[in-house]
Amino acid sequence: MIKTLTKLMLISLFFTSCVAVKEYEKINLNDPDMKLSERDLDKYKSTFQSYREAAAGANGGKTGGGCGCN
């Protein structure tokens, strides 16, 4: 699984040379729901998940520390 994700990350690097969407073509990408991050209200779910689940991180939020959770 780790190898697969690493390969995907490396593959995505190649996109840098073959795709260049211009600023004026980014109207769909600039839609607020297209943000590559959690939505504001997701922080509450992430907090309870960090207490109730062993996993954390790789979501732009907490990775551990800062609370008496995992």
Binding site: T16, Y44, T63, G65
Partner: protein, 430 residues
């Protein structure tokens, strides 16, 4: 280790500042944030289950929490934005109340909350983030600091990140680092305290009760994390980000008020309550790796598809997978629905044992079912009202959007479920 961390953080800031200055160009630039934004958020969370860790893996997990929060984004000038976030989380917990179940109000029982002070607490968190964008908006430097406190836990943290955009802002690379210096003020179960005497109670079972217990000497917990993310626009309607976080923790990683019952020691009961044999003992180091991907698809003017996957692994033997899919549905200009589904699965920690199955001869042990093997499903539905004209005003602030959301969470392999309802108001200054 602390000095090294401070030194590394300082070096990171100096390096980032130098990189940013090298990128400065004088040309027309749009403000990073046009005007001040204020987000008022709140959530109400309830849960219930029957595997409370405070009572060694058996007992009520009933808990409710209300958490109002305010987040303010302040544009300091064209390039710099200060973000301040304050949250108060007030909760009542039946299982925490059973740190001392012998309140005299009713029969002590792991499935009944006691009236003790440990049944409620307030967590307070404050954090600030400062971000500086270069003139060409291709470099963003940020630093953050955080503080959090509750009755038995205090945390202080700081960190920083650098983000570089290139390929006509089609590609974004971010590197970040954070440290937390936390400390416990342990609240041990009542039977482990010096003031406790078995002679004061009527009991059944093992008359030679002697807890296999000693106080934790090191009550600090340090966390060091580094992370990286790579975002890429794949087409006019698809973009993706790969994220990786690596975390090292040391110090007191056990929770000091979580009991353990050993299968090789006869139980001692007071009323309906077993006296603990020890509190959980977990290794004083932990290394975690999380790898994630988020890919969003703009399908058409009505539908957006948001997907998320995460693989997680740590050296306590836990592996997990998280999948999430969300389908925002735009209804006209002003309304959006957010149906979502999330699946989570994990394997158990090497040190986990179910209620009364652990052995006193083990070095490490816990009956915290959050560290057990389980699957969980989460179903959500959100609603957003968006007003591009900000017609509703409070003082100098106009209401930009209202978000409401409900989520139901359940574990399939344990009798545990939770409900969370959240609401958020987004205001922007005129």
């Amino acid at each position: 280790m602390k000095n090294t961390s401070y030194y590394c953080f300082f070096l990171l800031l100096v390096t980032l500042t130098a990189v940013a200055q090298a990128d400065e160009k004088t040309e027309y630039k749009k403000r990073v944030l046009e005007t001040m934004e204020v987000n008022l958020l709140s959530s109400y969370y309830t849960q219930d289950g029957e595997n409370a860790a405070v009572t060694g893996g058996i007992g009520t997990e009933e808990l409710s929490d209300i958490a109002p929060s305010i987040n303010v984004l302040i544009p300091l000038n064209d390039d710099d934005v200060l973000s301040i976030d304050a949250t108060v989380s007030a909760y009542t917990s039946a299982s925490s109340s059973n740190i001392n179940p012998f309140d005299g109000a009713q029969q002590a029982d792991p499935f009944v909350a006691s009236t003790g002070a440990s049944g409620q607490d307030t967590w307070f968190g404050l954090s600030a983030n400062y971000a500086h964008s270069s003139d060409d908006r291709n470099t963003i430097l940020s630093g953050n600091i955080s503080f959090a406190n509750e009755y038995d836990y205090t945390s202080f943290g700081f960190g920083g990140s650098i983000t570089k955009l290139f390929n006509q802002k089609n590609t974004e690379l971010q590197v970040k680092a954070n440290v937390f210096f936390d400390s416990w003020r342990p609240q041990y179960p009542i039977e482990f305290r010096e003031s406790f005497s078995l002679d004061d109670y009527e009991f059944t079972g093992n008359a030679n009760y002697a807890a296999n217990y000693s106080d934790f000497q090191d009550v600090g917990r340090n966390s060091y994390s580094v992370g990286a993310s790579l975002s890429q626009i794949l087409s006019k309607s698809v973009q993706t980000v790969f994220m990786a976080d690596f975390v090292m923790q040391d110090g007191l990683l056990s929770t000091p008020h979580q009991r353990v019952y050993f299968g090789d020691i006869e139980d001692t009961m007071i009323e309906n309550f077993r006296l603990g044999n020890d509190v959980e003992r977990l290794p004083d180091t932990r290394t975690k790796l999380a790898l994630g991907n988020r890919t969003n698809f703009y399908l058409n003017q009505t539908f957006v598809l948001r997907t998320y996957y995460r693989y997680y692994s740590d050296d306590w033997g836990i592996n997990s997978h998280t999948f999430k899919v969300e389908l925002p549905i735009k209804i006209g200009m002003n309304y959006t629905l957010y149906p979502s589904y999330r699946y989570y699965t994990q394997t158990q920690a090497d040190y986990f044992g179910e209620f009364n199955t652990l052995l006193s001869t083990q070095d490490f042990y816990t009956s915290d079912y959050d560290l057990a093997t389980y699957d969980a499903h989460q179903y959500g539905l959100g609603f957003k009202f968006y007003d591009p004209l900000n017609k509703f005003k409070i003082g100098n602030f106009g209401l930009k959007s209202i978000n409401v959301e409900y989520n139901y969470y359940e574990r399939t392999t344990q009798n545990f479920s939770a409900h969370i309802t959240s609401i958020g108001f987004n205001f922007i200054a005129d």
